[in-house]
């Protein structure tokens, strides 16, 4: 059996001051994620799951269902309101939210990777594509120019970005290429855990297919565990072994992707699957 990478327990994120009634008056049954008593937004509550080495976990749901909130809190972009997450590294384990800011930054730079839907969040558009990868390597204490250059080149070749465009600014790249640079950047430190937030949304179909292929190849090659957030059922069908379905900040269904797509149990999931083109 493969090694456990991540264990998430009762992750909760509330935007606003919150009140004792927040949790019971929001969720799929209440048909809202805004607390009627205090106006706080319960972005996610009670999210728990385990993730194993080499596994791809899908999180699907409509806009505002809290799926991005989950990966953002795990990648330390946002602090959770409650809950815990334990990351199991090769020789140590870290309780993510009891670490200090410097330790969190170090994990984020060295052991996690993130690919955002919008390349502007993941890339620095003031430096070249190679410089973006260099940034991540420099953050993880590689200080040899030749080595950085070599690694950046091989990553860009791996993600099928033309090598001779390495020193160009990613501003000049197409959306698909920017996404490939983002993936190369995320992979720079060979992280055991990768977060993919709507990576193919907004790209044309052939580019989508190429990027999904690339992600699968990387998973096979490096045995990277991934969490894929998407609203596209085709993406989870192709990539994810297991899937969580979220609505109004709660996980309403979880299981093997095939099962969820072929035999959805929850009424919302049934509607979601039925409405897929």
């Amino acid at each position: 059996m493969s090694r456990k990478i991540l264990e998430v327990n009762n992750l909760t994120k509330i935007h606003g001051r919150g009140c004792p009634l927040c949790l019971e008056s929001t969720g799929p049954e209440a048909d809202t994620n805004i607390c009627p008593h205090c106006g706080s937004v319960v972005a996610a509550h009670g999210v728990s799951f385990d993730l194993y080495q080499g596994e791809i976990l899908g999180i699907i749901g409509e806009s505002g269902s809290g799926k991005s909130t989950v990966v953002k809190t795990l990648y330390f972009d946002d602090a959770p309101s409650a809950g815990e997450a334990v990351f199991f590294d090769e020789d140590a384990q870290y309780d993510l939210y009891s670490l200090n800011a410097a330790q969190q930054r170090s994990l984020r730079n060295k052991r996690f990777g993130m690919v955002y839907q919008n390349p502007h969040l993941g890339l620095n558009f003031n430096v070249s594509a190679g410089g973006n990868i260099a940034e991540r390597l420099l953050m993880s204490d590689v200080a040899h120019y030749g080595a950085i250059r070599e690694r950046a080149r091989s990553l860009l070749v791996r993600t099928e970005v033309l090598e001779n465009r390495m020193d160009e600014n990613p501003k000049k790249f197409s959306g698909g290429m920017q996404q490939r640079v983002q993936i190369a950047k995320a992979l720079a430190t060979r992280p055991p855990l990768l977060f993919l937030d709507e990576v193919t949304t907004g790209l044309d179909l052939s580019v989508q297919a190429a990027i999904l292929d690339l992600i699968l190849e990387i998973q096979h090659e490096l045995d990277t565990a991934m969490i894929v957030v998407t609203h596209d059922l085709g993406v989870v069908r192709l990539l994810a072994g297991r899937t969580l379905v979220m609505k109004y900040g709660r996980v309403i269904e979880t299981g093997l992707t095939d099962q969820i797509l072929e035999d959805p149990q929850h009424a919302y999931t049934q509607r979601l699957v039925a409405s897929a083109l």
Binding site: A101, A102, G130, G131, A134, L138, H144, Y145, D167
Partner: protein
Amino acid sequence: MNNTYELPLDEAGYAFGFMDEYAKKEVRRAILKAICIPGYQTPYASREMPMGRGFGTGGLQLTLSLVGGNDTLKVIDQGSDDSVNAVNLRQFVQMTCPGVDVTEKTEDATLIQSRHRIPEKLLTEAQILVLQVPYPDALVVVEPSEARRKTMHGEADYSRLLVKLYEDIVKFDEITISHRYPTRIHGHYIIDPSPIPRWDVPKLHQSKALILLGAGREKKIYAVPPYTLAEPLAFEDVVFSVEDFRDAAGIRRTCSRCGTADSFLDEFSNEAGEKTYQCSDSAYCDEQLAHQTVHAQTTNTEVAA
């Protein structure tokens, strides 16, 4: 400065060193903190000085807080004792600190205030060097938010500065920072060592003299204490280097005035429109010249005898 200017009579009660004792005490406390945390930018209440911010008020406040009756002061601007900024600051100190000696000789000074240069002559343990700083934070080129810069300094997160060096090497095959070279002090904080040329950066490393840096406009004081590590930022395989002053034929240029080949040179155009080079440190140049004259005289005497 207006040479005929005198302090108004009714305000002749100005304290020694222009600033009142409380102000000087506050600056001294900031200096002590800066020395205790090498490279850390200590905030202080930069006072109004009777000159515009950006004209060396940070350095001047340090000097005025440190100078005492038994001190000998040297003030330089871009290496020269005679340029406007240096002359004005020197006259101001002479006017407000009666009894303080001034000198142009580096070795005679106990306190040196400088803009953009560190003297060529090695400083000693008995000396303090005060540098005027326009932009104290090396991270300002990569991060506009001061709050975030403070976190980055705290966590010694300087990877984005290195990305800038990386981009430089990619574009120009070398690091193109000519002055204000980011330098890591005591293995943690990276400072902007004021606009000194690369030539002067190695002088920060294990310096015998205390080096204080004051930014008046930005209200920061920081220090490189004596015998402290000062490592210019670089890659393992692309190392830091100083200006080499070699001409096209690979020969080291010399000063056209004193002929020395081991000083930082300024470039001038002579009347014929040709480039000439001269020591930037005028006191050093004078000293070399004086040596040669003495030497020439002795040789002449020997010949005569």
